[in-house]
Amino acid sequence: MIKENRVRFMQGNEAVVEAGIIAGVRFFAGYPITPASEIAELMSIRMPQVGGSYLQMEDELASMAAIVGASMGGLKSMTATSGPGFSLMQENIGFASMVEIPCVIVNVMRVGPASGMPTHPAQGDVMQARWGTHGDHPVVVLCPANVKEAFDLTIEAVNISELVRVPVILLSDATVGHIRERVELPDPASIALINRKMTTLPPEQYKPFAAGEDCVPEFADRSNGYRYHMCSNMHNEWGFPADSGHEIADKLIRRLDKKVDLFQDRVTFYNTYETEDAEFMIVAYGSVARSAKDAVKLLRKENIRAGLLQLQTIWPFPTAVVKQFCVGAKTVIVPEMNMGQLISEVRLAAGCEAVGVNRADGMAISPQEIIEKVKAVK
């Protein structure tokens, strides 16, 4: 039986805060922006209560830098923002990728570009979340569709960032961020927490960027002689710049890439609904998946064999999962609150016809719009 106090009526943004705290986040730095501001406000209340710190920085460049700095100092760290702020964070998301610093970036998407529509949902940052910072870099992006998922995926985000030493982006949207729903929170004792690996090697043998088979280097406690260097440049295993060391650069870039490949199964989350015999497979993510599920229900009532594959992990793109569930489908329908960002990846993986249902005007995609599209391609 679920204890009374574990049943909560919660906002999506609030779920992110509570889950972050349970996952061990003890440092939050941010700069307020709609529709993510509740995360900053709640963090300013909750962080000190658990012995953590809330810093309101001068901008998102600083927020991102501060969370990487705090994580370098050993604290699990998080920031939260929306489109314009997410743009400002990009350079140091790359830095976190390069020096393999665990951290979680929450982007509660609103309509863009530029200031767009601050209070309305969108999914326009799907490609930016993957490729927003320059250069080849690993990153993991998770996408919740409701308050419970915002909670669960925040815990996963913190855990994955610690396990794989990658920045993890929680790509929420204004709908998920602002909606209030009844949620049954898990018993905190039942939640497995992951902490970054610490070296057991003595300082003279320790190399901060040497990695074993899992491609993830170990941290060292910055005391007792572990005086190591980290830099944003291409670096060797000791962490020093390798300005013209092409072999070193090659080795590093390939390891960073392989690292996330090795953990792909661990970081891939999805839900399915009525997929077994689906002729029309809807592939959706984020709040759009809610409408997609309703669309499937209604279509089934009309004996149209529709199914839903809801991706909770969008990057690294779960090619194998999409292939597995779309193999028997005639057409794949990809509703997105953008002009079609993930559809190309879906099309490639599905290997069949894929059509989009798109809008980027700040309005949610209704089940009816999806149903109409299915009927149109039927």
């Binding site: 000190p48 830098a65 140091n92 910055r222 005086r227 830099c231 944003s232 440049n233």
Partner: protein, 278 residues
């Protein structure tokens, strides 16, 4: 007393700097200050941004991070909160600290967070080949000011004072004994410290400005500096293009940020327990 080389990372010499560059002299001054204060080497972290000056921590044997251009102070803010016992020194350049990272400098000073910022002011973008910086003198030549620099430099020490820094000082490479003393004092101070050190970049600045010989640049530092104790003797006009050197501000009337944050944590916990939170 240990020697400077005892604090250098084995195998990290030669460094990357040009002959006559002032950056190495600053490293020497920093190390002598740290040695004088007998700071535990495992409790010192040197954080830098990007630039020639930001390479100082490659060779210094302390914890070290070379971050992104302009953001060292922002990283250091998070790091210091995570590691309150660490002496956190930020070394930055005039481009890194006063240009691209200027906003972070202002707000870290305002918070009075216990960071020791050392801004190595060579009046130019050294690393990228001598483009003008926000601290390049008006009328000087730079690779992006081939006719002349039409912009004006600004007094970052005054800016720091206005922003709320609690320790502000300026030295030069020429006045090395003074500079060393200022670094030492800033390391002892609790709160946001800003020490600007005027240095020379013969390659990016001197060559284009008829001071190719580092000696000429050192003499330029000597001639253009006025010790703060004597500044009162000069008119505003006479001080126009001069650097005031020495300890410019020490104040102890603001709570240091990490300490204030710790108090806030106590207060919130007392409140959560149902206390008054006072």
């Amino acid at each position: 007393m240990a020697q400077v080389k005892d604090y250098l990372r084995p195998g990290k010499l030669p460094h990357i700097w040009c002959p006559g560059c002032g950056d190495g002299t600053v490293v020497g001054a920093m190390i002598r200050s740290i040695d004088k204060l007998k700071l535990d080497r495992d409790l010192v972290t040197v954080i830098t941004g990007i630039g020639c000056s930001s390479r100082v921590n490659n060779i210094m044997d302390f914890h070290s991070f070379q971050t992104t251009h302009g953001r060292a102070v922002a990283f250091a803010t998070g790091y210091k909160v995570a590691k309150p016992d660490m002496k956190v020194i930020v070394v930055t350049g005039d481009g890194d600290g006063a240009g691209i990272g200027g906003n972070h400098l202002i707000h870290a000073a305002r918070r009075n967070i216990d960071l020791k910022v050392i801004l190595i002011n060579n009046q130019i973008f050294g690393m990228t080949g001598g483009q003008f910086s926000p601290l390049t003198p008006n009328g000087a030549i730079a690779s992006t000011a081939q006719y002349e620099n039409t912009e004006y430099p600004f007094d970052v020490c005054k800016l720091m004072e206005a922003a709320g820094a609690t320790y502000v000082a300026r030295g030069t490479v020429y006045h090395l004994a003074l500079t060393e003393k200022l670094i030492t004092r800033s390391l002892e101070h609790k709160g946001f410290s800003y020490v600007e050190i005027i240095t020379q970049c013969p390659t990016g600045y001197g060559k284009r400005n008829k001071m190719a010989d580092p000696y000429q640049l050192l003499m330029w530092q000597k001639e253009n500096s006025v010790p703060v104790e004597q500044a009162g003797k000069y008119s505003a006009e006479e001080l126009k293009d001069k650097f005031i050197i020495g300890e410019l501000l020490v104040r102890n009337d603001r709570t240091e940020f990490v300490e204030a944050n710790a108090r806030l944590i106590d207060k919130s916990r007392a409140k959560a327990k149902g206390g008054s939170g006072k």
